[in-house]
């Protein structure tokens, strides 16, 4: 009895900090958000108002570009891993997915700095996207692989026996059947990288102005929060609380979508 009490106590105690954090962010952030906040750029110190449009646009563009790179590559690798689980290449790429999942995000930032920022000679949005794409890959690959492994072999065999070429079997039968599972992996990976700051520190860097140029530095929501949260000005802190609220809402929304998708498909991510 006592033991059960201790277990229940510890298990539920864990939810307390999360609730406190969520309530605090919402309380601090929700009143910052208005039309001007969403469409303006940050104001200089001392001036009232200011918005986070540059960060919203930047986060959106960079995550979009990262997704455009990571989704096809990740799905192809995931299909390969589920179709040929016994080959040597599958062993090594499976190993690499495991490694990639554990790589600290700051290390990804360093490496992409040397791959793209240094040759180009400037911080750029495109390098930030590449860093985020690398962070997205393992989740997309694993969810594709797991989903496809759950599909019955008979499905593929039936299609093949009708004389359908292999690539069409995959594209028209297997992928549509596992679509919800793969999609849940994609939403989860987007939720994961939209809050990533460390890989962007040395790649996209940040930019106080509204910019859509992918070869120039670009602001992102988490980076804006980092810069403004560590500044000494109250106005800027308020801006960062507002941005945290928006970021949190995005992350929650994406996670709820993922939950709904995985409930239908018993995918384990």
């Amino acid at each position: 009895m006592i033991f059960k009490g201790v277990i229940v106590f510890f298990a539920f105690l864990m939810t307390v900090p999360l609730i406190i954090i969520l309530v605090y962010i919402i309380k601090q952030g929700i009143f910052q958000v208005n039309w001007h906040f969403l469409t303006g750029v940050p104001a200089p110190v001392g001036e009232p108002g200011g918005g986070i449009a540059n960060a919203l646009l930047g986060s959106f563009l960079m995550v979009l570009m990262a997704a455009v790179v990571a989704i096809p590559v990740g799905m192809a690798a995931g299909i390969y891993l589920s179709e040929n689980p016994k080959t040597k290449l599958a062993y090594y790429s499976g190993l690499c997915v495991d490694i990639l999942q554990g790589v600290p995000s700051i290390v990804v930032g360093i490496v992409v700095y040397f791959w793209i920022v240094k040759p180009l000679g400037t911080f750029s949005a495109i390098s930030g996207s590449i860093a985020l794409a690398i962070m997205m890959l393992p989740i997309v690959i694993r969810s594709t692989e797991q989903t496809l492994k759950l599909l019955p072999d008979s499905l593929k065999e039936a299609a093949l026996s009708l004389g359908v070429p292999y690539h069409r079997v995959i594209m028209k039968v297997i992928i549509p059947c596992g679509f919800a599972g793969i999609l849940s992996g994609i939403t989860l990976s987007v939720a994961r990288v939209i809050g990533e700051t460390a890989p962007l520190l040395f790649t996209a860097f940040g930019n106080p102005y509204l910019s859509a140029s992918i070869t120039k530095p670009m602001e992102s929501l988490p980076h804006l929060i980092f810069t403004y949260a560590t500044s000494p000005y109250d106005d800027w802190h308020n801006l960062a609380w507002g941005a945290s609220f928006i970021l949190l809402m995005f992350v929650l929304l994406l996670n709820i979508i993922t939950k709904l998708l995985t409930r239908k498909w018993k995918v384990q991510l």
């Binding site: 033991f3 059960k4 201790v6 277990i7 229940v8 510890f10 298990a11 539920f12 864990m14 939810t15 999360l18 406190i20 954090i21 969520l22 605090y24 962010i25 192809a76 299909i79 390969y80 290449l89 599958a90 790429s93 690499c96 997915v97 495991d98 490694i99 990639l100 554990g102 790589v103 600290p104 700051i106 290390v107 990804v108 360093i110 490496v111 690398i134 890959l137 070429p165 292999y166 690539h167 994961r192 939209i194 809050g195 700051t197 460390a198 520190l201 040395f202 988490p222 929060i225 980092f226 949260a229 560590t230 945290s244 970021l247 949190l248 992350v251 929650l252 996670n255 939950k259 384990q268």
Partner: protein
């Protein structure tokens, strides 16, 4: 190829077919290439530092870029301290969650709610933990430090460890839940039939059966804690000097490998400085990779049995 001919595929179809297979192979190979590239980049770029400082880099006690002296010891201490304090505090919580949701209450709305909450903890971006910690946790810790008579920095190793604790619990917990549910019920039923109580079943049957798996979960948590950057960078105080007293080491400001890279990488103005930072990144990469692979290996062995 023979099969394809027997199916009477046209040339165009055959081209598609082979092209498709090649793309799949290429993308998997690309993944291997990325990892090899990451490792190669880190090694090549940290070569100047490795050559001039050698292995002594790891226990050099002074980090002073102005006079070109680089030692990783303060950051190794900071990283290990924050991670292990966080790990020790988190273990009771993650085990309790795993046992509660795995054994006591595996189904129903309450268990779903708790499970979703745990997953949500992992989903909140680390920058938000750092921001919240800076404005809410730091003042609390400061009052606490005044009470126990240590310098009231507020920020520091202990504060970072507390935030890390919250952040890493989901990793060990959610794995633990899955593993405890995998304990074969004949084992448990046998123990109950012999008159064991629930507590005895958990201690004598479930714990021994899942021990290695739960340990793997702790390893994954550790890997996560070692590499965590943003929340720690905001809360640890960023001092590269080692405090003299034990109390100050725990409660005073410090630095971890990840936080020193985050803070100083864009400021590093000469090759030696930069490559010393990258060598820290290389060490961090190797350590987390080894820890993660060991954890994964244990889990694979556990689930295959």
């Amino acid at each position: 190829m023979e099969n394809n001919k027997r199916l009477n595929l046209s040339n165009a179809q055959l081209k598609w077919e082979n092209g498709f297979k090649r793309v799949l192979i290429a993308m998997s190979a690309l993944l291997v290439l990325v990892i090899v590239g990451v490792l190669a980049t880190l090694i090549v770029e940290s070569l100047p530092s490795i050559k001039s400082l050698g292995i002594g880099f790891l226990w050099g006690k002074v980090w002073d870029p102005v006079s070109n002296v680089y030692g990783a010891y303060p950051f190794l201490v900071g990283t290990l301290l924050t991670s292990f304090i966080a790990l020790i505090i988190s273990i009771p919580f993650s085990y309790a969650i795993a046992i509660y949701l795995g054994e006591y209450n595996p189904k129903g709305w309450l268990s779903d709610l708790l499970k979703n909450t745990i997953e949500l903890i992992a989903a909140v971006p680390s920058i938000i933990y750092g921001f919240w910690g800076l404005f809410v946790l730091v003042p609390i810790i400061r009052t606490f430090e005044l009470k126990i008579h240590v310098a009231p920095y507020g920020i520091g190793v202990f504060t970072s460890s507390l935030i890390l604790t919250i952040m890493i619990i989901p990793y060990a917990a959610s794995l633990g839940i899955t593993l405890i549910r995998m304990v074969p019920s004949p084992l448990k039923e046998g123990a109950y039939a012999l008159g064991a109580t629930r507590w005895e079943v958990i201690r004598r049957v479930i714990m021994p059966y899942t021990r290695s798996g739960l340990f793997a979960g702790v390893l994954l948590s550790l890997g996560r804690a070692l590499g965590e950057t943003m929340a720690v960078t905001m809360l640890i105080g960023n001092t590269s000097a080692i405090a003299s007293t034990f109390k100050d080491v725990i409660f005073g400001p410090g630095n971890t490998m990840a936080s020193v890279i985050a803070n100083e990488f864009t400021e590093a103005d000469h090759t030696q400085y930069l490559s010393a930072l990258i060598e820290l990144g290389l060490v961090l990469f190797l350590v987390t990779v080894v820890i993660n692979l060991i954890g994964k290996r244990i889990i694979t062995r556990f689930t295959n049995n």
